[in-house]
């Protein structure tokens, strides 16, 4: 098994598509760093003048209508269905400040978690494609039948391929996330502030990055499983994209209460260590109308971990069962 996995890893790194895929991930990471630099760059003199003008206009408007806005918000709050959100959350009606119109200073502790989440999506998607093409190529070329005449123990063959697809992505994900972390820290350190980046913050960021690495490995393996089940890379990618668009996108958009059972939100909960989502809360009103508000709910890290763990295990077991019994033509 170890020898077979080694062979599969050598095959993985020899594939041109893998090299291209890793280069593309590196390029996108570079683009993220450039975007961070653009975002952290201070305003030019002209932009600062423009911000000052806008701020003064808003201040004037607040002086004239501020009390009116507060009253209106309180009225709206009273008509909210139960359970009502907190008043201070619902009515955030405050006088304008200059930094709302200028460009806030880039803070490493605020930027980095979102960048890590975005990068984890990117890595998972890249790993899925690489894993799917790695296994799918064997079925579309027919070389799997040749391979099985050398090693007929199918579960070993299956295991070695999935382990290679998963572990092959580990160093890629670690290096890319390290580049992103270090790059953002240096950029924000130079143009914004890294104040408050305590040991605990580094610990949390490392935890998020570690979970993103594990997710990339799992996505690589799942790409392989799906390509094996469907016998073609394009079919695997098509099914995955179709699921994401139709089920996660369309269905998830209509049935907001089903969100805890969709992959995307559990992915977020796993990476961010808890996440929140909004659920529509609708009721009929006395005047025969229909009033909807949104309530924020939390999806726990544990829920995300169990959900994703079960999905991964079930799909891998399904792939093993099918591959063990399937006729290879």
């Amino acid at each position: 098994m170890i020898r077979l996995t080694g062979v599969e890893l050598r095959r993985l790194v020899s594939r041109r598509l893998v090299v291209i895929g890793v280069a593309a991930l590196l390029l996108i990471t570079g683009i993220m760093l450039v975007a961070t630099w653009q975002n952290a760059k201070p305003l030019s003199a002209a932009e600062q003048r423009n911000a000052q003008v806008n701020f003064e206009q808003a201040q004037k408007d607040w002086q004239e209508h501020g009390e009116e806005y507060k009253k209106q918000c309180l009225q709206d709050y009273q008509s909210q269905p139960d359970p009502k959100p907190k008043l201070e959350d619902f009515c955030q009606v405050n006088p304008p400040t200059l930094d709302q119109f200028g460009k806030p200073m880039a803070k490493f502790t605020e930027l980095m978690p979102d960048l890590l989440l975005g990068s984890s999506y990117l890595l998972a998607f890249g790993a899925f494609l690489i894993g799917a093409s790695f296994v799918g190529a064997e079925f579309s070329s027919g070389s799997i039948s040749n391979w099985l005449t050398f090693e007929p123990r199918r579960l070993r063959v299956y295991g070695s391929k999935l382990i290679a697809a998963a572990t092959g992505m580990l160093p890629v994900a670690v290096v890319l996330l390290a580049i992103l972390l270090a790059g953002v820290y240096l950029i924000v350190g130079a143009l914004g502030t890294t104040a408050g980046t305590t040991g605990k913050v580094w610990g949390d960021l490392s935890g998020t990055a570690g979970r993103a690495v594990l997710m990339a490995a799992a996505a690589g393996a799942l790409g392989g499983v799906l390509a094996l089940l469907l016998r073609h890379t394009a079919a695997a990618v098509g099914v995955a994209m179709g699921y994401l668009v139709l089920v996660e996108g369309v269905f998830g958009g209509f049935l907001t209460k089903a969100q805890p059972w969709l992959v995307r939100l559990n992915f977020d909960a796993w990476i961010k260590h808890d996440t929140t989502y909004l659920v529509d809360n609708c009721r009929s009103t006395a005047d025969g109308g229909y009033l909807c508000t949104q309530i924020e709910k939390t999806l726990s890290f544990e829920h995300g971990a169990w959900y994703l763990g079960i999905v991964v295990v079930v799909l891998i077991a399904l792939g093993a069962g099918v591959f063990q019994r399937r006729d290879i033509s």
Partner: protein
């Protein structure tokens, strides 16, 4: 030392078509392949040759029956004997973007064969120079040679070639034939499936003929030909029309063949001359036609309604 390299009993496999119809590919095949030499596995297209080979190699599951390779029951004990078996099933299948050498190196690593063996088998199959080229740039003949090189990595006792000359030019066919013959002479067992009879007749020591997934005949080439009822004589006679009528009336089968008549079914050649002479038709030439594997094959498969003609 086992006497049989391969043995199957009652081997059966059915497929379902996309419309749900059951198709019997192999039905109760009993096959014996002796150890050593070249064994031809013959049958028309769709007779179950490739399916049988795939079942032997564990690529598809048999519905019923037993199989052994070197006395080891397969597929259960296939891992124990797979090191002694090299196989090419239908067209050679490798990773198209990798070089021939890289493809073989991966296979060698998978089975723990030293890398230097890759160079040796490439040289043995005259691919030493082209080993660094991508598989997808190879001609069909080179792909076939690379597949043979892959089977030789294990130094196998049993080589299974499924339709090895499909699509090859005459030079390629001759090369593969010589390779098979050479391997057989080294004491290895070569099981070669084909529907091209002349190709197999030239290299095979023993043959099995199958049709509709069942064994029709088996034995040495001489035995299979000898068992045939096909005795044909080529007759030169002046009046073809009368001669055909007379011989047909005597229960013989007559076909025109240019200036000759081909007469099947006569127990002795003299019967033909005697019957014609009784009607004052005198034979100027009488040539016994030696039965060959092709005629036997056509006779057997025609009997089975497999599309062969006589």
């Amino acid at each position: 030392m086992p006497e049989l390299a391969v043995s199957t009993r009652g081997l059966r496999k059915t497929y379902r078509t996309r419309r749900g119809r059951k198709v019997v590919a192999v039905q109760g095949l009993d096959l014996d392949v002796p150890v050593g030499g070249v064994h031809g596995f013959l049958g028309p297209n769709g007779s179950g040759k490739t399916t049988s080979i795939r079942m032997l190699l564990g690529l598809i599951r048999a519905d019923a029956g037993t199989m052994t390779v070197f006395d080891q029951e397969v597929p259960r004990h296939l891992p124990d004997v797979v090191g002694r078996v090299g196989a090419i099933v239908e067209s050679p299948k490798f990773f198209p973007a990798f070089t021939g050498r890289r493809n073989l190196e991966l296979l060698a690593d998978a089975i723990g064969v030293p890398r230097k063996r890759v160079g040796e088998v490439l040289d043995e199959t005259s691919l030493g120079e082209r080993g660094k080229d991508r598989f997808k740039s190879y001609s069909l003949g080179m792909k076939q040679r690379l597949a043979i090189a892959a089977t030789l990595l294990k130094e196998p006792d049993l080589l299974i070639f499924d339709e090895p000359t499909n699509g090859l030019d005459p030079a390629g066919i001759r090369e593969i034939r010589e390779t098979m013959r050479g391997l057989g002479e080294q004491g290895r067992t070569v099981l070669v499936s084909s529907h091209i009879l002349a190709e197999v007749e030239q290299v095979a020591d023993t043959v099995s003929i199958i049709g509709h997934g069942r064994l029709l005949a088996s034995g040495t080439v001489a035995e299979v030909i000898g068992n045939s009822t096909a005795a044909t004589v080529k007759v030169a006679v002046d009046n073809h029309e009368s001669a055909t009528r007379i011989l047909t009336a005597a229960g013989l089968t007559v076909r025109a063949d240019g200036n000759y008549l081909l007469v099947d079914g006569a127990e002795y050649s003299a019967d033909v001359t005697r019957r014609l002479a009784q009607h004052e038709l005198y034979v100027s030439e009488l040539i016994p036609v030696r039965a060959d594997l092709e005629s036997v094959f056509l006779e057997l498969t025609a009997d089975e309604g497999l599309g062969g003609t006589r």
